[in-house]
């Protein structure tokens, strides 16, 4: 029994990582309607920033996280202002082709700069040691991910639902012309929103390295998982992505534990069922 609780806790922590990892895409895809398959490239960027700072310059792990987020947000903003904003108006297929091309290019650049090998990411001891909470053993890193995920989900939900900024973004997405008509600078707003999405991608990437590793194939390797979270959660919904990610992590863990023969494939079956019966996801915006 304690075994089940403990793997459930691990599964939820894994789900939290998926959430942090995919929330950036949920923002750009759901709120800005831009199909950003290069999301993984921004995550990879954050991962390399964190790994380089940690390994080469000995920066403490906790400081590498904001550094990764800010750096990636700036890269994201630069990319948005220079190329991506010209793609918003294009048909969806062209957005897909453009962004997947961007992901391939980013992988090739990473290969040139950092080489094809895995990047080591040695976490501090307080994150790798095991913690006992009410009889359930869990590692510090997974506990840290859980706390981090909860805080991030709360902050983002508040930002988009209860602030003027959030209201402006929603208005601009639903009716750009009207939003511009009442004096919202939509161009700048989108740049900031895109940077926010990229920043969260970078943060998710930095957190993922200790768990998933990091090499130049990263942008495409986890694309499926990230798209699953966003599709099941419903694009643009912070709460939906949160619920979807936690559910995926927990269900995956439980089925792997009880039926290891097929457990790894259950979540994909779940995705198919969701798409058949709830094509907009758990909490998709209809507008």
């Amino acid at each position: 029994m304690s075994g089940l609780v403990s793997i459930l806790a691990d599964g939820i922590a894994y789900g939290m990582l998926l959430f942090l990892f995919s929330i950036g895409l949920s923002i750009t895809l759901g709120l800005m309607r831009f199909i950003n398959l290069a999301h993984g490239a921004f995550a990879m960027c954050g991962g390399y920033v964190a790994a380089t700072l940690l390994n080469l310059y000995g920066v403490p792990f906790l400081l590498t996280l904001p550094a990764a987020a800010i750096f990636t947000a700036l890269v994201g903003m630069a990319a948005e202002r220079s190329v991506i904003r010209h793609v918003y108006g294009m048909p969806e297929l062209q957005q897909v082709l453009f962004s997947i091309g961007l992901a391939f290019a980013a992988g090739a650049v990473a290969n040139i700069i950092f080489g094809p090998q895995q990047q080591p990411m040695i976490l501090p001891d307080w994150l790798t040691s095991r913690v006992d909470i009410l009889g359930v053993e869990i590692t510090g890193y997974r506990l840290f991910l859980m706390g981090f995920g909860l805080v991030a989900a709360g902050l983002l939900a508040a930002l988009f639902n209860f602030t003027l900024f959030g209201a402006r973004v929603r208005a601009a997405v639903d009716n750009r012309r009207a939003a511009e008509g009442i004096g919202i600078n939509v161009g700048r707003l989108f740049a900031i929103t895109f940077a926010l999405g990229a920043g969260f991608a970078g943060l998710g990437g930095a957190l993922a390295v200790g768990f998933l590793g990091l090499d130049p194939t990263f942008p495409l390797k986890y694309l499926v998982l990230v798209l699953m979270v966003v599709a099941i959660g419903g694009p643009g919904s912070i709460g939906g992505s949160f619920a979807a990610a936690i559910a995926l992590g927990a269900i995956d863990a439980v089925f792997k534990y009880f039926v290891p023969q097929v457990g790894g494939f259950v979540i994909y079956g779940l995705l198919v069922l969701m798409m058949l019966f709830f094509p907009r996801g758990l909490a998709g915006r209809t507008a």
């Binding site: 075994g3 691990d10 290891p260």
Partner: protein, 402 residues
């Protein structure tokens, strides 16, 4: 319709490229003086894409060998022509590259194939063209049976996993739980570990087969811990998957539960060790090469390798396989007295004995597969990092699957 019109255009361009490389290759094949001649070794490696680092390892090994031994064997000058097969998912590219090397570059011996499908796709071509080919890595047991011109200089997965099973049984480990990736090599590893371990009196009390790219091993490891075995045997495809697996065995507290971890040596490949860190502590693995081996051949190899790759570079077992591939070719040319037809080369290769950096190796004349020492290693702290240190040698291991 548009598709069929587009295709010939592409083939046309490719033909031009082939023609250009043929023009570059042809003069090499022409004998300069009557007795002095050149022999082209066609090399097929993954030199771009995800597995480019593997290709680089073999290439360094090949270069290091020619650095030590020169390019001449008797009156034959050995030249290498490299071609890129882009790794395991490139369809029949390795077959086309092999064909190009044979037809245009007049390669008389082929050296290469890092992955099983790449070797398999070239097999019938090699048989038809009667060209000896030395497999630089591909480790599935059956490959050498697909063409009478194949010889393997690397290792087979059953060699590693059976040696580990044999060692475990005689080292007081009674029960094992297996966790292998669910694809052909994983099943091979599981089968041969189990056979050798149970032949030695041990018992496999359960196992899990995990998706090949699985990154989350907690549930599988928890089940393993609950089965209370003496040890867990693990195999997965390397790279980030193996890093994740190793880290989570540490995280889940396998050692605290009193369970040893046994893996094939490729899971804890030297280039992954920095990313694994202290997860390597006490892990037992089996591999056919070890940088720290003390023998003259290894010293010669290491000094040549450092000249090629830089003073601080660390060779992989793959580098040694590239080095030994060239050594086998040189040996065959000497033993055949300079005859380079396929039969003479194959006869010289069968039963060949070489003094390799990994210790003495022989080519089994019946199977054309390698017979070599397998080292049992333990993960230990070494200086500021971690390393696998050999503490036991199992000598003269044949591929148990044949």
């Amino acid at each position: 319709m548009a598709r069929t019109e587009w295709h010939p255009g592409r083939v046309g361009r490719r033909t031009v490229l082939l023609g250009a490389s043929a023009a570059a290759g042809l003069p090499l094949a022409r004998p300069a003086i009557a007795q002095e001649r050149k022999l082209v070794v066609g090399v097929v490696l993954p030199l771009s894409g995800t597995f480019a680092d593997q290709g680089k390892n073999y290439e360094d090994g090949i270069k290091a060998f020619q650095k030590v031994n020169g390019t001449k064997v008797g009156n034959i000058t050995v030249e290498t022509v490299m071609r890129d097969d882009q790794g395991p998912a490139s369809g029949d590219l390795s077959r086309r590259m092999t064909q190009e090397l044979i037809q245009r570059s007049r390669a008389e011996i082929i050296l290469g194939y890092s992955f099983t499908p790449n070797a398999m796709s070239a097999a019938s071509l090699l048989t038809e063209a009667k060209r000896p080919a030395i497999i630089i890595n591909a480790a599935t047991s059956v490959i050498t049976e697909r063409s009478p011109y194949f010889t393997r200089i690397s290792m087979t997965l059953p060699q590693l996993s059976a040696s580990l099973g044999q060692w475990a049984a005689k080292s007081g480990i009674k029960t094992v739980y297996t966790i292998v990736s669910d694809y052909a090599p994983g099943l091979d590893a599981e089968t041969w570990f189990t056979k050798a371990f149970e032949a030695g009196g041990g018992k496999v009390i359960g196992g899990a087969r995990t998706p090949v790219s699985a990154m989350e091993y907690s549930p599988f490891l928890q089940r393993a811990i609950e089965a209370k075995p003496d040890a867990v045997f693990g195999f997965n495809p390397g790279g980030d998957v193996s890093v994740a697996f190793m880290k989570q065995t540490k995280e889940r507290g396998l050692t605290e539960a009193g369970i040893k971890l046994l893996v094939t040596g490729d899971v804890v490949d030297d280039n992954l060790v920095p990313a694994m860190g202290d997860a390597l502590d006490g892990v037992i693995s089996a591999l056919h090469y070890q940088v720290e081996l003390q023998n003259p051949a290894n010293q010669r190899f290491l000094s040549a390798f450092r000249e090629v790759a830089g003073a601080n570079a660390v060779p992989s077992y793959r580098t040694v396989q590239g080095y030994d591939g060239m050594a086998l070719i040189y040996h065959a040319l000497q033993a055949s007295g300079g005859k380079t037809d396929a039969e003479s080369i194959m006869n010289a290769i069968k039963g060949a004995r070489l003094d390799s950096p990994r210790g003495p190796i022989t080519i089994d004349p019946a199977t054309r597969d390698i017979v070599q020492n397998i080292y049992i290693r333990r993960g230990q702290r070494l200086g500021s990092g971690w390393a696998n240190i050999a503490f036991e040698t199992i000598e003269g291991v044949k591929d148990p699957a044949k």
